[in-house]
Symmetry: C2
Subunit: 323 residues, 2 copies
Amino acid sequence: MELLGYKELSILIQKEIKETEYSGTPSELYDPMNYILQLGGKRLRPVTILLAVQLFNGELKEAIQAAKAVEVFHNFTLVHDDLMDNAPLRRGQQTVHEKWNSNIAILSGDTLLIEVYNHFLEGNYNNLSEILKVFNKTAIEVCEGQQLDMNFESRSDVTIDEYINMIRLKTSVLVGGSFEIGALVARAHKEDAQLIYDFGVNLGIAFQLQDDYLDCFGDPEKFGKQVGGDIISNKKTFLMLKALELDASGELQKWVDKTDFVNEQKVEAVKAIYRQLKVDELAFSLMDDFYQKSLASLNEIKADQESKDKIIEFAQALMKRSS
Amino acid sequence: MELLGYKELSILIQKEIKETEYSGTPSELYDPMNYILQLGGKRLRPVTILLAVQLFNGELKEAIQAAKAVEVFHNFTLVHDDLMDNAPLRRGQQTVHEKWNSNIAILSGDTLLIEVYNHFLEGNYNNLSEILKVFNKTAIEVCEGQQLDMNFESRSDVTIDEYINMIRLKTSVLVGGSFEIGALVARAHKEDAQLIYDFGVNLGIAFQLQDDYLDCFGDPEKFGKQVGGDIISNKKTFLMLKALELDASGELQKWVDKTDFVNEQKVEAVKAIYRQLKVDELAFSLMDDFYQKSLASLNEIKADQESKDKIIEFAQALMKRSS
């Protein structure tokens, strides 16, 4: 059978998700669930499941429900996180709590979380409990990561290690967990399932570090979000934490403490400090460390190089690089 | 083996829950989970699981994790419902969103919901998917019931059938579902599992109708809540809906529309209208219909009368009646 690339797998899962509709009453519960799921997005997590299933010679058809499950879980986190973060927009559209209200966001999010398990059940996996153990561990870690992220907002002594641990929990374990669930669906060996998990987690950390970097130094045309948002809100990213560590002049701290400023001026000033302290280069190098670490795990897996290459293509596209 | 009564089963599960502690970091996530679970309560739902397991000659030990699972689910609904209802107190203590904050209530509630599935996994049930199907269906219906309850607040055309359906979803299906899960843990026949579910759902509706009745006509000493709370807030209970239907004079509607009143005066006036229209008797009779219906389902189950009697004792205690 011919191997599929991440773009083809993405088209496949996009179609499946488009056809997914939760129906029931009252509509105040079900409309927001369908709304958030159909808002779009790259469907990265389900694609990772399909890539892992293909790597371990499993049946893609068998993986559809697991792939939907992780995407629905991701959407559950979006609904609740947007409410907690008081975010007005998601993919350029109103967030659920804005379009409806907070209570509906809480309750339709809860229902999405229960539907995650319905998808796993619909998959009829004979190793269901093994799959759910990996999923539950991951899901709880994602909650821990979100709580840490909220805690960090009011703390002034966050270390870089704590920051890396937070992004690992909040975003990367779900990438790793999705790869691992794909491996379990395909009945891969335990060691290989662990290696693909490690691959995914480190790739996820590299991806998040890149996202932080692009939030600051990205091309506004290509990035799709407001560039400099993290700087304006004093978000404790690697760039900020490392720069504060190196900021002997106290110049950065002054900008952090300022409550009255012109956004563009603060962004430009802080970017200049970052460049002067070379934390942009340090961030890039740290990102590369995690990326190389992820590739090393992938390399150790016992599988065809050809299907590994499909995963490498995906990782390269994610990291927007050609080597 | 000697059969256990609901009081002994309650002591057994109280001990198990007391020993349950979720540990992890950050503490802002785990402390509220342990707080709500240790606030107390009658542990009705886990007791129903144990009663059903005993009825179908299962192993009580095997049922502990399933019993914990439904109790943890119930506590998840308390955390989120209290937040949605803006309730300051739960069992006389601060609610989670009051003691911590709204975001922590959302996220620790989410984590409790995930832990529900961990308990089911820890039970090592070889019919796990069958158990989870019943649980998920129930859990989603509970969310539907909560959404309907919120919808009813702003609707003026709620029918009595709609009200009964709302309380069925919001509170009764979890009683029925718990009994059914107990039956599945004990590998009961499908028909018997369905009958014990029906028993539980109808008992649950009878119990909720009694709760509405006692909110209005109960002895303040014994009821444990503020008597008349439903009247003060114009809650659309059976009593209110039926009385509005029969209220030819428009006297009740006047009290409902009043925004400026003395609580005690409104409570006494509305109670007098209820008595005059005999909706208290109608409520009592409807409650009894559901109770008798529940007993009829129990009667059909193929099992020892002696262990059925243990369930009848439980139902009688719940309905605070001796016959």
